[in-house]
Every structure is written in structure tokens, then in C-alpha cells.
């Protein structure tokens, strides 16, 4: 019996896996090591969101993804945490 031809792998990596590859890079690359950043892929554009502690890590986030996916445009929407002192005190008892 003749076997059906095996389906060809898609030329483009499905966004489902691509997003996770970006998240893994952001978690493990020593320039960033952030696990909680938001990653969204639309075509060849990668959107990054969330908060990072320093300007250095804000810039590194973009560089890490650019190094991983040089063919993609990286839209870095992460913000740098710059928190002041609390405005109020909560009384608990």
C-alpha cells in the first residue's frame, strides 16, 4: 500500500512556539533574566511589555530579542521601575 506523503513542516515557525522561544531567551540571557515580561508576536513584529528594574535591562531586553530574531522588528514597550515612597499607610489593627 502506498503511504501518504508526510506533511511538510511550515516554513514559518508558528507564533505559539516563537513567543515561548523569546520568553525563554529573556529568562535565561544574563543581560535580562526576567520571567514575567509580556511577549506578543504579529507577523515579523515582536512586542515586549512589562516592567524592568533598570534602564540597562530595558535596553538589554530589546537587544536579546534582536539577537535571537534579527529578521524581526522589536517594539520595546517595557518600562523602567522608578518608584517613590508610599503615599499612604495601611492600618491593620
Amino acid at each position: 500500500m502506498e503511504r501518504e506523503p508526510r506533511p511538510e513542516a511550515p516554513e514559518e515557525e508558528p507564533p505559539h512556539y516563537l513567543v515561548q522561544r523569546v520568553r525563554e531567551a529573556l529568562a535565561h540571557d544574563e543581560r535580562v533574566n526576567e520571567l514575567e515580561l509580556q511577549v506578543r508576536v504579529q507577523g515579523r513584529r515582536v512586542f515586549l511589555g512589562g516592567q524592568v528594574p533598570t534602564k540597562e535591562r530595558h535596553d538589554a531586553v530589546e537587544q536579546v530579542v534582536h539577537d535571537l530574531l534579527p529578521e524581526c522588528e522589536v517594539i520595546n514597550e517595557t518600562t523602567v521601575q522608578d518608584y517613590g515612597e508610599p503615599k499612604e499607610v495601611e492600618k491593620l489593627s
Partner: protein, 255 residues
């Protein structure tokens, strides 16, 4: 009155130098003690801990901390702890510390905690060795927390964790990852031992306020959530004194 400043998930690296020190220098104007709810460093490297230690060295109020999962990533938690303790920070893991302010005492039972999920949607120590090890670690941490918290004989008691004891303070995170953000076993331990407050971090996209099934206040103090350098929680009557000037750390280990 005891004023407790708390924050978490500072994720300090070499690039963080100078970011927290200005808040530390003025801390006694607002608080009597500072509690740190883990993820103090980026990946738990000694050089990262040294940067944070310098920020906190000479703090005008006692500083008590637990480590978080990030602080374990480089497999050097003992080195991280030693560096912080050399700078005067008390690091707790299944241990307690007591701070006295005027005539009142505050006991802090600290542990990193761990995951596993919440009642009805939780992991069970059944099956593969890896799954059993995962859940047993949480059980051991929770048992130790209950023991240490229950052993505190202070006016006020706080459980200081990194992982969450309740779902409420995780709202905003994807529900699919709740099991990796906390465990109901931590809440059960707190409810059995009794406490005035549970502090945790870890869930950057979570919510600040929750309560255990037994009625204990829970606060997620991850900086990303409180959107301040730290939060301040008060216990007792306001006697209109600068309690911070009188703060003294008894630093009594309970375990």
C-alpha cells in the same frame, strides 16, 4: 504602634546600585522595620547580593528578609545569605526574628515557601519521584512555617514569604500558572499557627490584597504590584512618637 515597611522582587544586579539607598536612608521617618519578601537578586549571584548589601548597610531600621526563587537560581543561596547577613540583614528560612519597638514586640516567621497550587486545583505528592519531591518540598516548608510562627510569643506576628498563600493576590496572573506561584498549604500553616499579616512577593502581575480562609490579611508586596519603593503597614495605637528612633532588634532566633 509598630510600622512595618515591606517590599519584594527587587531583582538587584550590578546595574541596580543606588536605586534603593535613598529610600533606606530616610526609612526611620516612616517605619520601624523593613521586611524583604524575596527575589532580592537577579539570579542569586554573590556579586548581585553585594550590591544590595551595600544599599542596605547601616539601615536606620532592622532589615529582615527571605530569599526567593531568583536567589536560588545560581545554586549559591548560602553565599547570598552570608553576604546579606554580613551587612546586618537578618535572612530567615524556617526561622523567626523578633523586633521590639517601645513596649511592643513584632515576631516575623520567614520562609521562601513554594508552589503546588490551591485547594481543588493543586498538585499531589503522588506518582513520579519528581512530582512527589515538588509537593513534599512545599509540605516541609509549610510545616516548618507553622512550627516557627506558632512558637512566636509576641504582640504581633507576621509570616514573611516569597510564594503566595492565597489565590486572591495572584489575580492578574494567568490562572494556568497559579500552581507555580503559591500553595494553599502556606495559608493552612498560617491559619493553624495564627498571625496578623502574611507578606509575599513573586506575582508581579498579581493584586495587593487578599485574606487567608482563616481571616489573616495577605499582602503581595512585589514592587511591580505596590508601585512604590515599599508599602507601610501599622499595628497598634498611634502614640505620636517617632517609633523608629527607638527601634531595637532583639533578633531572637526561634529555630
Amino acid at each position: 504602634m509598630i510600622r512595618v515597611a515591606a517590599t519584594g522582587d527587587l531583582h538587584f544586579g550590578p546595574d541596580s546600585a543606588g536605586t534603593f539607598r535613598p529610600h533606606v536612608e530616610r526609612l526611620d521617618e516612616r517605619a520601624d522595620v523593613l521586611l524583604l519578601a524575596g527575589d532580592l537578586t537577579k539570579v542569586g549571584l554573590p556579586e548581585e547580593a553585594e550590591v544590595l548589601a551595600e544599599e542596605l548597610r547601616g539601615s536606620p531600621v532592622p532589615v529582615i528578609a527571605v530569599l526567593g526563587n531568583h536567589d536560588y537560581h545560581s545554586d549559591q543561596p548560602a553565599a547570598v545569605r552570608a553576604i546579606l547577613e554580613e551587612a546586618g540583614i537578618r535572612v530567615l528560612e524556617g526561622e523567626a526574628a523578633v523586633v521590639g519597638v517601645d513596649d511592643a514586640t513584632l515576631g516575623v516567621a520567614g520562609a521562601k515557601g513554594f508552589g503546588g497550587g490551591f485547594a481543588g486545583k493543586n498538585a499531589t505528592d503522588f506518582g513520579e519521584p519528581e512530582m512527589k519531591a515538588f509537593v513534599r518540598h512545599t509540605k516541609e516548608v509549610a510545616e516548618r512555617l507553622e512550627e516557627v510562627l506558632g512558637g512566636l510569643d509576641t504582640d504581633y506576628r507576621i509570616a514573611l514569604l516569597h510564594y503566595s498563600p492565597v489565590k486572591e493576590t495572584l489575580h492578574g496572573e494567568p490562572p494556568e500558572i497559579y500552581a507555580f506561584l503559591g500553595s494553599y498549604l502556606l495559608a493552612e500553616a498560617v491559619d493553624r499557627a495564627g498571625a496578623d499579616l502574611v507578606l509575599h512577593g513573586h506575582a508581579h502581575r498579581g493584586a495587593e490584597k487578599g485574606v487567608t480562609p482563616g481571616g489573616v490579611h495577605v499582602r503581595n508586596v512585589a514592587q511591580h504590584v505596590i508601585r512604590a519603593a515599599y508599602s507601610v503597614y501599622c499595628f497598634g495605637e498611634d502614640h505620636d512618637v517617632h517609633a523608629g528612633e527607638h527601634a531595637r532588634s532583639l533578633q531572637r532566633a526561634a529555630g
